[in-house]
């Protein structure tokens, strides 16, 4: 396996653990941006056909959107709703990291199970993609702060993106860009929703939403 892919894989896994262990929203957003740039480079190196225009467009779009636009939107949102800068976990940070290791083992096992079906894909990256999907879900359910749920969603999106890039070689460019656009609209809508939540409740704590029961 190529050392470059393995390095991206290892650093990518570590960004996930950093997200699990970080207590400040701002730092989490910066890790997310770094992760977006890192995995945005995957289309450039993962297939042997080199730097095609399609791969460049895909990687450029991803890096611009996930590395710059989303973090910028989220940082703006955090600055506007400046009530609490902590992520407020339901699961403590040490426990989150231990859960992360278990999830990593689970995703490696799942990848092994998938191996016969996807003979051509580079398996290391398949590990990362499934791990990213699980960590995204875990971040969404284990953090109280609404911004962390957006971050979890974006980690999940990173995972789905990597999975798509490495397993399906011939996806039309239009579909890939459409997915990116969907994610963009999703984050935009979530941003508006969070803005209204903070205006209504004075906090980003998703637990407060139970007060909405009629």
């Amino acid at each position: 396996m190529s050392p470059l892919i393995e390095t991206i894989h290892a650093v990518g896994l570590l960004t996930c653990f950093a997200l699990l262990a970080t207590s400040r929203i701002g730092a989490c957003i910066r890790w997310l941006s770094f992760q977006g740039i890192l995995f945005g480079m995957v289309p450039l190196i993962v297939h042997d056909d080199g730097l095609t225009a399609r791969a460049m467009l895909l990687a450029g779009g991803n890096i611009a959107l996930k590395g710059i636009v989303f973090p910028w939107l989220l940082l703006g949102l955090r600055a506007r709703a400046d009530f609490n800068r902590e992520v407020q976990p339901f699961v403590s940070f040490v426990m989150s990291i231990l859960c992360g290791i278990l999830i990593l083992a689970l995703s490696v096992w799942l990848t092994q199970e998938m191996k016969p079906a996807l003979a051509k894909a580079p398996f290391v990256m398949l590990d990362s993609s499934i791990f990213l999907i699980f960590i995204g879900l875990f971040l969404m359910i284990s953090r109280r702060n609404a911004l962390m749920q957006v971050i979890g969603f974006l980690v999940l999106e990173n995972g789905i993106f990597v999975f798509g890039v490495i397993t399906v070689v011939g996806t039309p460019l239009l579909v890939e860009l459409g997915v990116l656009l969907d994610a963009f609209v999703g984050v935009f809508v979530m941003g508006i929703a969070i803005y209204h939540i903070t205006r209504e409740f004075g906090s980003m704590d998703v637990d407060r939403l139970t007060e909405l029961r009629g």
């Binding site: 050392p3 290892a10 653990f17 262990a21 990291i97 231990l98 992360g100 990593l104 590990d127």
Partner: protein, 304 residues
């Protein structure tokens, strides 16, 4: 039974180990703008302690006297299986990785027993902290060594470290880098150096290791200081053997490269101690678990 010639390596370690602490202290002094104590000061300190008489409390038993001797004996035994980079250890057999970790644990156990034997509440607190943190650091160390064993396909320290050449680094760059970071953290945690504990402080409430040895005096305390230097040497050799991948086949060249590596490592420890503040005690477990995570990631990415 090892050949007499191969015992040169542990002897060198026994002689040179306190020098590392001298280099650490000198680095810290230079960064702080002081001249600092002489490089050989740790030797004088140990010699001074050994010349003194020992005082034992009336309530203590033989466990207190066993502590320093047991700790030093375990570490000296660990030196026998500890290779020095490409230079092989006097004793090498499959599974000596576990023996090394076990001996480190045995030494710690002796110190903890001696601390508990005094019946002092401070020492009990220190023992509790030491055991708590080492319970987290030990799996991290085992994971790191298991990863190296996995990459090099051998379960004895000497062949493992002989296989860590430049070619192996090129093959497994992220794995080795992650394991190296874990070993650095373990070196700091096990030797209770700064982000975890301050070895120069004497405020009992914040101490971990130093608080356990408050009741030892004279030669006992000298042995403890010496054992601490040996521990820095052993864990430092684990890290330096990984990050100095000089495997020329010549004992002299490999050994010299490793010595340079150890001196640089002592300098790095000094710089870390100058640049960082001690973590709050509640944050230390997070720090150690983070280090274990690095190794776990390294292990799992090599699994497939």
């Amino acid at each position: 039974m090892p050949a007499p010639g191969s015992l040169v390596l542990p002897l060198c370690a026994l002689i040179l180990a306190p020098l590392l602490l001298g280099i650490v202290n000198r680095t810290k002094a230079v960064i702080a703008g002081r001249h600092g104590p002489p490089l050989l000061q740790p030797y004088w300190d140990i010699a001074k302690s050994l010349r003194r008489g020992a005082v034992y409390g009336e309530v203590t038993t033989w466990l207190l006297r066993l502590g320093p001797v047991g700790g030093l004996a375990a570490l000296a035994a660990a030196l026998l299986v500890m290779p020095f980079g490409g230079v092989g250890a006097p004793v090498s057999f499959s599974g000596d990785i576990i023996v090394l970790v076990g001996l480190l644990a045995l030494g710690r156990f002796a110190t903890v027993l001696a601390a508990l034997d005094t019946g002092s509440s401070f020492e009990g607190m220190g023992a509790s902290r030491e055991v708590h943190f080492s319970a987290l650091a030990e799996p991290a160390l085992l994971l790191a060594l298991a990863t190296l064993a996995r990459v090099t396909g051998s379960f004895a320290l000497t062949p493992v470290y002989q296989a860590v050449a430049i070619g192996a680094w090129a093959d497994a760059l992220p794995t080795f880098a992650l394991v190296g970071m874990t070993l650095l953290v373990i070196l700091l945690v096990e030797n209770t150096r700064i982000p975890v504990d301050d070895p120069t402080t004497h405020l009992e409430l914040t101490m971990i290791h130093e608080v356990m040895v408050l009741d030892h005096s004279g030669p006992d305390f000298g042995l403890i200081q010496y054992a601490a230097a040996l521990k820095v040497w052993i864990l430092g050799a684990l890290l330096a053997g990984l990050v100095v991948p000089v495997r020329s086949g010549s004992v002299w060249l490999d050994g010299a490269a490793m010595l340079v590596g150890m001196v640089l490592l002592a300098g790095v420890i000094g710089m870390i101690e100058s640049a960082m503040a001690r973590y709050r005690l509640v944050h230390v477990p997070q720090f150690i678990v983070g280090a274990a995570t690095l190794s776990a990631v390294a292990f799992i990415i090599r699994l497939v």
